[in-house]
Amino acid sequence: MDFTLTNFIFYGFALMTVGSALLVVTVRNIVHAAFSLMVTLFGVAGLYVFLQADFLAATQVIVYVGGILVLILFGVMMTSGRLEMRIHIERGQLLLGGVVALALLTLLLTVIANTPAWKNLTDDGTELPPTTEKIGELILNGPFLLPFEVVSVLLLVALIGAALISRKEVRD
């Protein structure tokens, strides 16, 4: 393994992603966990860049960091009125969860390691042209038009539904 700059940056992002994700699941303060999640998301965005998926990386940052994370923070603030954000985890639950998670991880890693088709596929490092135009073409004038429309409707429904569920009961 040669330590080129690219490799270095890649591993940096990977470490950042995994490490902050680990923080997300372990820190006791929920606000800290949220900020760790932000780091994870940035890390994933970075990995997207390595995969030549520039548009995707941008979306990841805008939607996740700019949208979902803010949403989560709102949720935290709304539900933790007493600002009691410490998390207590039962030991037994932790243990069981850990066992299952580890078993799952083992399983996944075994599968990744043992699948022949996935072996030795290295990134040839070819530069692709920016994907934005292509994606626009595919979504608005290609095979993904229908899924796109469906997803838009879904989003709309989700928004309305969310608004409906979360509003205060006026009748009472």
Partner: protein
Amino acid sequence: MTLQHYLVISAILFTLGIFAVLTRPNAISILMGIELILNSCNLNFAAFSRFMTPPEDISGQIIAIFGIVLAAAEAAVFLAIILAIYREFGSIRPDEVDTLKG
């Protein structure tokens, strides 16, 4: 960088997400775990798109975009539900919300 690098990162993210979902005693933490899981999936899509298909085919990326959108929708609904539960039960601890207990 090989495909397996990405897959391993994705697997770790996934496992961590599952772990969070299983163990965190707070609904918002669970949501964060779910976000991790979704991210791992998206990462997989993007990776497979890059390594397993011709360079000009970027369908995997588009699926990942859809995944992000779904994640957004899901987060919105999830939070709405959490708010409703919070109003109803005064708590968002999933182990305290056990009306369906047999």
